[in-house]
């Protein structure tokens, strides 16, 4: 009973934080706004494809302010978090942010699905892509929160985005070869282990490519990485002490 109340309170606390932060709200709405713009200026199919590629970023943006700031600020030294309850709060934060990112994503996807069904252009592969996007989103939240133990709010996201820019730039270097990484990526076939490893590293930086290219098998890499980051955070939170800075 108490655990249920605790989760409910934690959910409300985090939800208030997200809704009161104008920057976070705006960033989380960006994927939805882009889709809406495409819907107005292009086709529904294009809008769905853009949405499926972009919606995991809602998860990433919401993971901006996760651990370090709250741990070090002293706000957890409160009657609500005595006897180690701050650990439950921090662990549940990962789950709550995932739910908060999932709700608008699922709502937009439902609307696009209904529109797609009415226009007769809906394909069941979209549903698989949406599920793959959820895996990517959860990966972003766990990666973002893991990084937030080391970096202040916002810097954790910036690091991930920088890694994505580097990954995209690396594609340009592959153009120098007659047949390079980009070609294999386009074909969805990697000739040897080295290219496969390269692709896995690329995926860890820019996992959205799995949704766009429908490489569902490689999602297992993300699931493993997510499990790793979750485990590391659980270990860290289990032994966490609140030392106000």
């Amino acid at each position: 009973m108490f655990a249920k109340t605790r989760f409910k309170i934690n959910f409300l606390l985090i939800q208030k934080k997200v809704f009161r932060s104008k920057g976070l709200c705006f960033l989380s709405l960006v994927p939805g706004l882009v889709v809406f713009y495409i819907l107005l200026t292009d086709s529904l199919a294009t809008a769905i494809n853009f949405f499926l590629f972009l919606f995991p970023y809602t998860f990433l943006f919401l993971s901006g302010d996760m651990m370090k700031d709250e741990i070090e600020s002293g706000v957890l030294e409160n009657i609500m978090f005595l006897q180690g309850e701050y650990r439950a709060y921090l662990l549940q934060k990962i789950l709550v942010l995932t739910i908060l990112a999932l709700l608008p994503s699922a709502a937009i996807f439902s609307m696009l699905t209904i529109a797609g069904l009415l226009k007769g252009i809906f394909s069941w592969i979209y549903l698989l892509q949406f599920l793959a996007g959820l895996v990517v989103g959860i990966y972003y939240v766990t990666l973002g929160s893991w990084l937030s133990f080391y970096f202040r709010g916002g810097s954790n996201i910036l690091i991930i985005i920088m890694a994505q820019i580097m990954a995209i730039l690396s594609l340009f270097f592959s153009l120098q070869k007659k047949i390079g990484f980009l070609d294999y990526l386009e074909k969805g076939h990697f000739p040897n282990l080295l290219y496969k490893i390269k692709f896995i590293i690329f995926t860890l930086a820019l996992p959205n490519v799995l949704i766009a290219k429908k490489f569902f098998l490689y999602l297992s890499v993300l699931v493993m990485a997510t499990s790793f980051f979750l485990f590391r955070q659980w270990q860290r939170i289990k032994n966490l002490e609140l030392k106000k800075q």
């Binding site: 005595l82 006897q83 002490e241």
Partner: protein
């Protein structure tokens, strides 16, 4: 029925090379007010944080024998995005206090600590230090904890509020609550405390009943406390 609400046994805590606590042992009896005295950096806050579960001791044990525990930090900090009322609302929900009782509790307890309840519509971040401290008192009082641990109970408070808080402690004691008050303002605590624990450089120097000490000829706590310090 255990009459000891807190039992700390041989607590040790190091921060890097700094030995913050060394074999700290003491106990707190139910229904008493215990003054936990020490200079700045003596290890008071570290001990309290271990009691509350915010820090883990390197060795030693802590027993807290009550289900409802309260805590007022030296300088309370709150989630910056929440209004005073929201913080109290969440606290009440967490501890199972219903809406009607919640409203009456806010009114009653605000008066006890001299808190202007109109402030509750504002974010706590905008309060003065004194009002943040009062807010922390209010947050704890609506929960009615069996054991209340207060770090520097009078820090940031004006003389009128200090008097109110002192009276509040005595009222809580009458209701059978237990208070563990950590401070270096000895004269304020002496007026209300039953027991005293003195800590210096991470070691407990004295644990006794104040009446006992008086019977032994100690005039006041301040003189006793100063007798433990090196003479300048």
């Amino acid at each position: 029925m255990n009459s000891l609400l807190i039992r700390a046994v041989n607590l040790n805590k190091n921060f890097g090379k700094i030995r913050a606590l060394r074999q700290v042992s003491f106990s707190v009896k139910k229904g008493t007010i215990t003054a936990f005295l020490g200079e700045n950096g003596a290890g008071k806050t570290t001990t309290i944080k271990i009691l509350l579960g915010f820090l883990k001791p390197d060795s030693g044990q802590v027993e807290i024998n009550c289900s409802k525990l309260g805590y007022i930090p030296d300088r309370p900090l709150f989630f910056s995005w929440l209004k005073g009322k929201e913080i109290l609302h969440f606290t009440a929900k967490l501890f199972g206090i219903n809406g009607q009782r919640f409203a009456s509790l806010i009114e009653e307890k605000s008066a006890k600590v001299g808190f202007d309840s109109e402030l509750l519509e504002r974010r706590v971040q905008t309060y003065s230090l004194g009002n943040q401290k009062k807010m922390s008192y209010l947050q704890n009082l609506i929960v009615t904890p069996e054991l209340l641990i207060v770090d520097e109970p009078f820090a940031g408070l004006d003389p009128v509020s200090i008097k109110l808080v002192r009276d509040l402690f005595l009222d809580l004691k009458k209701e059978g609550k237990t208070l563990f008050l950590s401070s270096h303002l000895i004269s304020e605590l002496e007026k209300i405390s039953d027991e005293v624990v003195i800590i210096r450089k991470g070691q407990i120097l004295l644990e006794d009943n104040i009446e006992n000490l008086r019977r032994q000829g100690h005039v006041d706590l301040e003189t006793l406390f100063l007798s433990f310090l090196p003479r300048p």
